[in-house]
Symmetry: C2
Subunit: 212 residues, 2 copies
């Protein structure tokens, strides 16, 4: 049986947005501050570099009990024994990804609207990354924002864990959780903060408070 995963505070890495700090420093401090799961996203580097980063990330996060998810590349996830894979709508089809990764792996899927959530109903995705919730600058090719109302509506049509992404930060964390998210996916709200550990701690506390 699959291990239960805490999706509460889901960091998506972004080296260019990390204010010159190394990926390892960002992940270490994020985990120390309460980040519960990390997605390694690398869109520009070659496969050799991606494997090396992923292997180092796995080692660091394993020691902290934080699962590592790889963005897009099932081969990298398999090479380093990552906990799972995250795929978007322009990545490998879900069925292919699941077959390659195996039944025990976490496989998460990005959905950008209600129709994609309905399509995902026939799949066995472990979670859905829903967004953008708010308009975002991190991802220039992002779909239109779905808003808190959109998230709340999606919550009514699926029982799959929902991880909200897209300009989610400390100022809106509570309302995103209350709208139905099981977890918050953040990029700059952790990567780009001067004190990464404290930023994680504040987000984790806001999530916990909003659930009470």
């Amino acid at each position: 049986m699959k291990k239960s995963i805490d999706y509460s505070l889901y960091l998506v890495t972004d080296r260019p947005l990390s204010l010159g700090r190394s990926l390892m420093e960002v992940m270490e401090k994020a985990a120390a501050g309460g980040t519960t799961i990390v997605q390694l996203r690398e869109k520009e580097c070659d496969s050799r570099t991606f494997v090396e980063l992923a292997r180092a990330a796995k080692k660091l996060l394993d020691a902290k009990g934080v699962p590592l998810i790889i963005n897009d590349r099932a081969d990298i996830a398999l090479a380093v024994g990552a906990a799972g894979l995250h795929i978007g709508q322009t990545d490998m089809p879900y069925q292919d990804a699941r077959r390659i990764m195996g039944p025990e792996a976490i496989v998460g899927l990005s959905v950008e609207n209600r129709d994609q959530v309905k399509e995902a109903a026939s799949l066995d995705a472990d979670y859905l990354g829903v967004g953008p919730i708010f308009a975002t600058q991190t991802k220039p090719d992002a779909a239109p924002a779905i808003g808190l109302e959109g998230l709340a509506e999606i919550r009514t049509i699926t029982k799959t864990p929902l991880i909200a992404i897209g300009s989610v930060n400390l100022s809106n964390a509570a309302e995103v959780i209350r709208a139905g998210a099981d977890g918050l996916a953040v990029v700059s709200a952790i990567c780009s903060q001067p004190d990464i550990e404290q930023a994680s701690r504040n987000l984790a506390a806001a999530i916990q408070k909003a659930r009470q």
Copy 2:
């Protein structure tokens, strides 16, 4: 036991260099003209597109008995059930690639000099892609040309099948084979020819003649 592969005429695809013809047209005509193996190389497209191209390529080439090799991406190779994977020196390490692909898959490795051939001696690569033999414009980041003498020297230090790449074409095919190559890898010498089938036929004939 692994199937014996005919590496004689190894097409590496390049859509931008295909004079506006589709990948499927290029592969179909190349196979009709005697291309014995095809490597699908896609460096720019997203994973969804890569999977779709690879799946279509697999179907087309299976019908002609021509094995399909995927460049760099083991996940794409696994998704479509390709015959194998080709990796370069900046792709996934060979040991990771072999573990992911399994013992039955073809895994080929690019080597650019004598030292890399020696390093490869401890691996069980199915073939080595050696080059560039001649200076090339197809791959702007290519290593220095090793020449026919370099190829001949490499032939003396390994029994692994050698596939020569780098400005290999009809005018030099015979001398490259006689220098010790088991096969010729070509890009523009097939993709960029007005008559792809005839270009393949001429290359295949030149290879056969040089072996006599």
